[in-house]
Each structure stands twice: as structure tokens, then as C-alpha cells.
């Protein structure tokens, strides 16, 4: 193919790149790359905030940020893969005999190196992002511990129940005051469950005779769904309850109303 020969003829690397970019198949691939990259960026920015539940805590915000921004950073790489694949797809040959042979490119050192380096870089970004988020989270958990509201969570086949030791109340819904960190001490009475207050974006398994701990910082008020995220037998699907993140006054009223009925929520 003529464009291929011209690539070989170019005398300097710079000139080679510019002739490379001028090639028709290359510019078409670039166009496709722009398209696919844009699609993925838009998808990330639009879809996750739309699909994921209302953000009620710092942790949930961190999750959603990761979902959005990882999509956005991976978009250009996905774009490369898809644009090259799409370009070749559009160039297809049909019929009952094979097409004539293509160019015998066995490998291309610089391309392999650049590709690998890019994926390492991407990987490092993802890792650093994750580690920083993880670290922020555990520092917050440690510093917040003294002012935390404590909730002891028990998973029993197939009902969640809660005990608030500071308030001495037993409940079947999970109500929390906004802007106060909360520590969940989670246990199971039987098999493994996984405690998942959905809008808080945290999750921790419930094990028998071991206490596991999760920590959340509610930042907004709104209804809360509590689910079980570990298959636990017959009624796993129904092991759900509701609750709310509410203003401190509402929360205190809720607590006093329970204390008035003997410490057990009705």
C-alpha cells in the first residue's frame, strides 16, 4: 500500500510521525478514538450519578467519585482499543476466499513499551487513588472514634436488629443523626451476613462470635435502606430493613420515643 511505503521512506522520526498522522486510516482511527472516548466520558459522568442512590455520607461520595473518574480516565485507553477494532471491522472482507495478506508487522518495540508504560501509569493512578481513599477513611475512622455514635448490629437469619448502647435502645430500623460519625459493630447470630446500609456506601460482613467494624460519616439527611449482601439461606432476599439519616432533633425525638416504650422500638 502506498501509504505504507511512504511511512518507510520518511527520513526522520518527526517526519515519520507527521506522515503517519496524515495517513487516511490513521486519521479515521483517530476520529473513532475521539468518538469512543467521548462516549465513555459522557457515560461515566452521566450514568453513575444517575444510577447510584442518593449520597448520604462521605464514604458514598468517595465511591461515586471513583466510579465516575475511573471511567473517565480509562476512557482514552478503551478508546484506543475500540477505535482500532472498529476501524479494522469496517475494513472487513467478505466472501468465501481469504483476503490477500496484510502487512507482516511482527511486533513494534516502541508501541509495546508505550502501551505497557501507559497501563502501568494508569494502574498506579488507580492504586494511589484507592490507597489515598483507604487511608483517608481509616484516619477518619480513628479520629472520629471518640465522638462516634455506636450501633451494635446483629444479623440473624433473616432479620437485622440494632442496639444503640449509648442510648440503650433496641430497634429494627436504622436511624442516624446527620453530621455525627457512626461506628457499626457487626455480629452474626448464625451464618455469614453482610451489613449494607446502601446510601452510606459502606459494607461489612457479619460473622458469628467475631465483631467486625464499619464506620461512616453521614453528611445528608434522607431515607436509608439496609440490606444483606451475603447469601444467607432461605430468606436472604428479604433480609432488609429501612431507616433514615435525620436531623439531630429528629433523631433525639426518635430515641426518646423508643425509650418511652421500654427501650424497644415498636
Amino acid at each position: 500500500m502506498a501509504d505504507h511505503e511512504s511511512e518507510l521512506l520518511a527520513p526522520t522520526p518527526g517526519a515519520r510521525v507527521s506522515t503517519f498522522l496524515k495517513r487516511k486510516d490513521v486519521s479515521q482511527t483517530l476520529l473513532l478514538w475521539v468518538f469512543f472516548t467521548a462516549v465513555f466520558v459522557v457515560l461515566g459522568l452521566w450514568a453513575y450519578p444517575k444510577w447510584m442512590p442518593v449520597v448520604l455520607s462521605k464514604q458514598m461520595q468517595a465511591n461515586e467519585d471513583i466510579m465516575i473518574w475511573f471511567t473517565v480516565i480509562s476512557a482514552p485507553i478503551a478508546g484506543v482499543v475500540l477505535s482500532i477494532a472498529a476501524k479494522s471491522f469496517l475494513n472487513m472482507h467478505r466472501g468465501d476466499t481469504p483476503p490477500e495478506d496484510g502487512v507482516a508487522i511482527r511486533t513494534n518495540g516502541p508501541v509495546v513499551i508505550v502501551w505497557t508504560a501507559t497501563s502501568v501509569l494508569f494502574c498506579i493512578v488507580a492504586i494511589v487513588w484507592g490507597l489515598v481513599a483507604l487511608n483517608t477513611e481509616s484516619i477518619a475512622a480513628a479520629t472520629d472514634a471518640p465522638k462516634s455514635l455506636i450501633v451494635d448490629v446483629t444479623g440473624s437469619q433473616w432479620v437485622w436488629s440494632f442496639y444503640y448502647p449509648q442510648q440503650n435502645i433496641h430497634t429494627h430500623t436504622l436511624n442516624l443523626p446527620v453530621n455525627q460519625p457512626v461506628t457499626f459493630n457487626v455480629m452474626s447470630a448464625d451464618v455469614n451476613h453482610s451489613f449494607w446500609p446502601v446510601q452510606l456506601g459502606v459494607k461489612i460482613d457479619a460473622n458469628r462470635l467475631v465483631t467486625t467494624v464499619a464506620h461512616a460519616d453521614p453528611t445528608a439527611t434522607g431515607p436509608l435502606d439496609v440490606k444483606c449482601a451475603e447469601l444467607c439461606g432461605l430468606y436472604h432476599a428479604y433480609m432488609e430493613t429501612s431507616g433514615a439519616v435525620e436531623s439531630p432533633t429528629d433523631f433525639n425525638n426518635w430515641v426518646s420515643s423508643i425509650q418511652a416504650t421500654g427501650g424497644v422500638q415498636q
Binding site: 432479620v159 429494627h172 447470630a189 448464625d190 432461605l234 430468606y235 415498636q266
Partner: protein, 247 residues
């Protein structure tokens, strides 16, 4: 085409037939599974007995249901004529004769359970408390209580469901009292002689229509991990459905 390749039309027809056949086979398997697993439990519809004014000052239609809790599936009658019940689990305790209940929405429901089984200790003490009844109490043989000791519970009636935007939450927990060893003595010698039993009466309010489930929180699946295997893993003994319907 070297060999006697079938004609295009025949091939197409063959393919279509194959697809139809495939769908029929899969659908057949599905329908078989559906009918085998379809809830065999008869439903108990609540009966209207009048109206009643609740503590909140509002007047509700008043409905009742009555059911029992038995030490075996034969006496419970929940499983048809149950001589060799479920491949021979004559020792599985069971609610009966009903485990599926249909209740009207926005009504005052009074439940009477007669319990004939023995019991012991709950896995989770919380379920010893009465939760979600109209006045926070349950009448045990005429005595109103707000809880039972967690190590003296027979089974529980624990009603819950999925919180969804289209369905109101409904949570009720009623621990049931044990029949003592003395009360069970005649039964243990001869399983046709049930004890006198204890009468448990409680009321709760339904809200909007929705689908809920109930299960027992007493570990009655003997000799399995935490007592929640065996009968506890099956429907229609210690678990069932509660449908709240309009109208």
C-alpha cells in the same frame, strides 16, 4: 455443494423447528419446576368481625385470623394428609394449618395462635421482645406481656418485608411461650396427644398493600449449625408469606 446438502428452504424450516423445539423444552422444564415449586400452601384469608377504634383514635375495620404451632407436621395439618410428610420428617415442627396469610390493607388485624410445642433458647435475645403490636403487648393465656425471657421461647412469629417505594414497612415480632416438659409428657409418649396448649393473642395494623414474609427466629432446625438448617431452610413450616391486599 459437494454432497447432498439439504435445500435452503428445508434447512430454514429445520432451523425454525429446532428453535421452537428448544423453546418448548426449556419452557417445559420451567413450567415443571414452577408447578413443583409453586407454593403448595393454602392461604388463610382474614375474616371481618366489625370495626374497632385503635389507640390512635382512628376507626379501622377489624379482621381476625387464627392458626396453630405444632411439634410435628402431622398434627399441624399444614401439609395435606401427612402420614409420610415430606419424605419423612415427622419431627419437624410446623405452623398450621396455614402458613400463608392474606390480610386487608389499612386494617386492624387480631391474630390468635395456639401453641403446642416446647422450646428453649433464642439465638438472638432481641426476638424475645414484643414488637409492632398495637399496644406493644401480647396476651399470653390472657396475661399481657411485652416480652418473654429469651431462654424460654418456643417459636416466634416475625413478620418483615422489603422496604420499597411502593410498599409500607411492616415489622411485627411475637415470641411464643413454651409448653413445659410436664405439659409435653403425654405427647412425647404418644404423638396424637397434644398438650392443652397456650393461647397467644395479638393485634397489629396493616398499612398499604404489599408483599411480606414471616419466619420463626427460634432455632428449631435441630442438629444443624445454629439450628437454622433442616425445617428452617424450607418454606411452609416455620416461614411463609403475608400478602396485604386492597379491598
Amino acid at each position: 455443494m459437494e454432497t447432498a446438502t439439504p435445500s435452503k428452504a428445508r434447512t430454514t424450516i429445520g432451523a425454525l423447528l429446532a428453535v421452537v423445539l428448544g423453546i418448548v423444552v426449556v419452557a417445559g422444564v420451567g413450567l415443571t419446576l414452577h408447578s413443583v415449586s409453586a407454593d403448595p400452601q393454602p392461604k388463610l384469608y382474614a375474616t371481618k368481625v366489625g370495626t374497632i377504634t385503635a389507640a390512635d383514635g382512628k376507626t379501622y375495620n377489624h379482621y381476625t385470623i387464627a392458626d396453630g404451632v405444632y411439634p410435628d407436621p402431622i398434627n399441624s395439618k399444614a401439609h395435606g394428609n401427612c402420614a409420610t410428610c415430606d419424605g419423612g420428617h415427622p419431627s419437624w415442627p410446623s405452623y398450621g394449618p396455614y402458613t400463608d396469610f392474606v390480610l386487608p390493607a389499612n386494617s386492624y388485624i387480631t391474630v390468635t395462635l395456639t401453641v403446642y410445642d416446647s422450646g428453649e433458647k433464642l439465638n438472638t435475645p432481641y426476638f424475645g421482645s414484643v414488637v409492632g403490636t398495637v399496644d406493644g403487648t401480647v396476651s399470653y393465656d390472657g396475661v399481657a406481656k411485652t416480652s418473654l425471657p429469651p431462654d424460654g421461647v418456643e417459636h416466634t412469629f416475625t413478620l418483615h418485608g422489603l422496604p420499597t417505594s411502593t410498599q409500607d414497612p411492616l415489622f411485627v415480632n411475637v415470641p411464643l411461650p413454651v409448653n413445659t416438659d410436664a405439659e409435653m409428657k403425654a405427647y412425647n409418649a404418644d404423638p396424637t396427644k397434644l398438650p392443652v396448649g397456650h393461647k397467644v393473642v395479638f393485634s397489629f395494623l396493616t398499612h398499604g398493600a404489599g408483599n411480606y414474609v414471616w419466619n420463626c427466629e427460634y432455632p428449631c432446625g435441630d442438629s444443624t449449625y445454629q439450628g437454622f438448617g433442616a425445617v428452617m431452610g424450607q418454606l411452609g413450616y416455620m416461614s411463609g408469606k403475608v400478602s396485604v391486599v386492597n379491598g
